[in-house]
């Protein structure tokens, strides 16, 4: 493809090709602190292609695909090229990664022990991880937590944090502007702005840790917390995993071990500051 870049996030190397220059330039600038492997061997190829014969020039629009793709994926405007590249990488991980059990979760680490937060889009897991990452924790990732099949450790996938809507203002208040990407207005998921994790998160992106606490956060409710039984945790995590079925017995064993060893709670919270206080208290108590 005409424009390309090869970069490494956690354990995975991506070769991203694009029919346009702009998305690659933006990736190069926002991922400047990450390992670049020009001409290296990649685990996955991502392709940003014109969505139709004329769509390279006329109302340019991107079809996201690669080694793994979804035929029905909706085309995206070239203005949102950075988001398209991010989605392309996520797609490869979700459909193709086999070296860990992939859990749709954010994770942060302190003293070698890991807090994992899982929930649906809008639960607040991404924003909380980003905030904790600015306040003494090491951000491991806002999208996928990688559970090692043999050791039970969680490994990072610290791509750019994708902040949505209200979370953008919350984080831009405490993060220097040079670590924030351009505002991508009116995407299918609303406004999006990317956050570059702090240096430590990137430098230590191959370093895992033992999971110590599992949370199911829920934003927008009165403060509340409840224990979650192992059976429920197991079911929710199978649903939050994109490769649980593909990994077969190895995935079952790794997930069973996680569920049996790590305490789990559901927390409801009305604001980010409430949530962080609840999390720090739980961490002292349980982890």
């Amino acid at each position: 493809m005409r424009h390309q870049i090869t970069l490494k996030i956690g354990p995975a190397t991506f070769r991203i090709g694009s029919a346009w220059r702009d998305p690659i330039d933006r990736l190069a600038s926002l991922y400047a602190a990450y390992p670049m492997l020009p001409g290296g061997i990649a685990d996955f190829s991502v392709r940003l292609e014109p969505a139709g014969p004329l769509r390279q020039w006329l109302r340019p629009s991107i079809f996201i695909t690669g080694d793994h793709g979804l035929a029905e994926a909706a085309p995206m405007s070239l203005r949102h090229g950075l988001l398209a590249a991010e989605m392309g990488m996520n797609l490869q991980m979700a459909l193709g990664w086999r070296r860990h059990l992939l859990i749709h979760a954010s994770s942060v680490e302190k003293d070698g022990r890991v807090l994992v937060m899982t929930g649906e889009s809008g639960s607040g897991k991404s924003t909380l991880a980003a905030q904790l990452g600015e306040r003494g924790w090491r951000l491991m990732g806002d999208e996928f937590a990688l559970l090692d099949l043999a050791t039970g450790q969680i490994f990072p996938f610290p791509r750019l944090v994708s902040l949505k809507n209200g979370a953008i203002d919350v984080l831009s208040a405490e993060v220097p502007p040079d670590r924030m990407g351009p505002l991508l207005a009116n995407t299918a998921k609303g406004d999006i702005r990317h956050l570059v994790p702090r240096g430590g998160a990137i430098d230590r992106m191959e370093e895992g840790g033992q999971p110590a606490l599992l949370l199911f956060p829920r934003f927008g409710h009165a403060a509340d917390r409840r224990d979650v039984g192992q059976a429920e945790v197991f079911m929710r995590l199978t649903q939050a995993s994109t490769n649980y079925v593909a990994l077969g017995e190895a995935g079952f064993l790794a997930l069973s071990r996680l569920v049996q060893r790590v305490p789990a709670h559901a927390i409801d919270f009305p604001s980010g500051d409430d949530a962080i206080a609840m999390i720090e208290a739980l961490w002292e108590e349980r982890a």
């Binding site: 493809m1 070769r15 290296g40 061997i41 392709r47 690669g66 070296r99």
Partner: protein
């Protein structure tokens, strides 16, 4: 062209030792796009590949093992559902290759479960599968009627719990196609794999794969189908195969498949004609990013596949109906 790279790696796995990083990226992208990454992974010597490639191939091998396990389980479930069916149940394609331990099954991607049963028993088989939890996929009445009147198989059924598809065939080509393979002869000569399940004879396995590749489809996924054929040919007796192909009305296609398989995966010393070259160009239309190339040639083969499947007037009616329903060629 990276499809050519893929073909060379399958033909001569040791040749990958000479690849640079760009070559590996192209090979992996093409192998994934052609669904041959598992086959490649079992053929290449792990010691001879760069560190960054080793886990990619290991992942592909593990995926292939899972595919095989799932396919065998589906076959087992179908065998159970059809335990009291009065007639042979013949496994076809990937599941048969894996169940019988054939070389074509090594590392192979396996999609649906394909079985062949006598045409007279189709209704009975359908009822038994539905009773065991399989359901219709296509709700569209036109598609359903089309399948039942003109196709060589039932409309696809999917299992409501396991989400796996079964294709129940009573012959190997659509009834509208010009060649009319002798399904009764195929059933009569099928060989047992288990107490309940059979597979086609060595010669009929080749005939089936060839009919599928050269007398029916648009050559999508053709590199893999041709790899199957190349592997299956090793078990077939050449004289018996020629006679069998004659009987099924696909003698020319089988001769061509032998030339193509030899040209791509074998010694490559045989003579190829103009038509062979065109088919080869189509088969190799894949670039170093795994993208389809030669769009016009691809479209030509797409049109041809319909032409092969049905007479012109019927084709026109069919395409018009599908167009109205919003279907567009990829």
């Amino acid at each position: 062209m990276s499809a050519a790279l893929l073909v060379r790696a399958l033909r001569d796995p040791a040749s990958v030792a000479a690849l640079n990083a760009a070559g590996w990226n192209a090979l992996i992208a093409a192998a994934r796009a052609e669904r041959l990454i598992g086959t490649l992974a079992v053929r290449v010597d792990e010691g001879a590949v760069p560190d960054a490639v080793r886990p990619i191939l290991a992942d592909a091998r593990r995926d292939a093992e899972r595919e095989a396990r799932q396919a065998l389980w589906e076959a087992d479930r179908a065998a159970l559902a059809l335990a009291d069916f009065d007639g042979p149940v013949v496994l076809m394609k990937g599941t048969a290759y894996v169940a019988a331990g054939l070389r074509a099954g090594d590392g192979r991607f396996i999609g649906d479960l394909d079985i062949l049963v006598p045409r007279a028993g189709m209704d009975d088989v359908e009822q038994r599968l539905i009773a065991a939890g399989w359901e219709w996929v296509k709700e569209d009445p036109y598609d359903d009627a089309y399948y039942r009147q003109w196709m060589h198989e039932l409309p696809p059924l999917i299992h409501r719990e396991r989400d796996r598809m079964i294709d129940v065939h009573h012959t190997i080509l659509p009834l509208t196609a010009r060649p009319r393979p002798d399904a009764d002869a195929m059933l009569a000569d099928a060989v047992p794999i288990t107490e309940r399940l059979y597979m086609l004879s060595a010669e009929d396995r080749v005939c089936h794969a060839v009919a599928h590749l050269l007398a029916d489809g648009d050559l999508a996924g053709g590199l893999r189908n041709l790899w199957d054929i190349y592997c299956l040919l090793a078990d077939a007796d050449p004289a018996k195969l020629a006679a069998r192909a004659e009987r099924h009305g696909i003698a020319a296609q089988v001769r061509q498949a032998r030339r193509l398989a030899d040209g791509l995966y074998g010694t490559g010393r045989g003579r190829v004609g103009m038509w062979d070259r065109l088919v080869l160009r189509r088969l190799l239309a894949r670039d170093g990013w795994g993208r389809e190339t030669r769009k016009l040639l691809r479209f030509g083969f797409y049109l041809r596949s319909h032409w092969l499947r049905m007479p012109p007037l019927m084709l026109a009616r069919h395409l018009l109906t599908k167009w109205r329903k919003g279907h567009r060629p990829a």
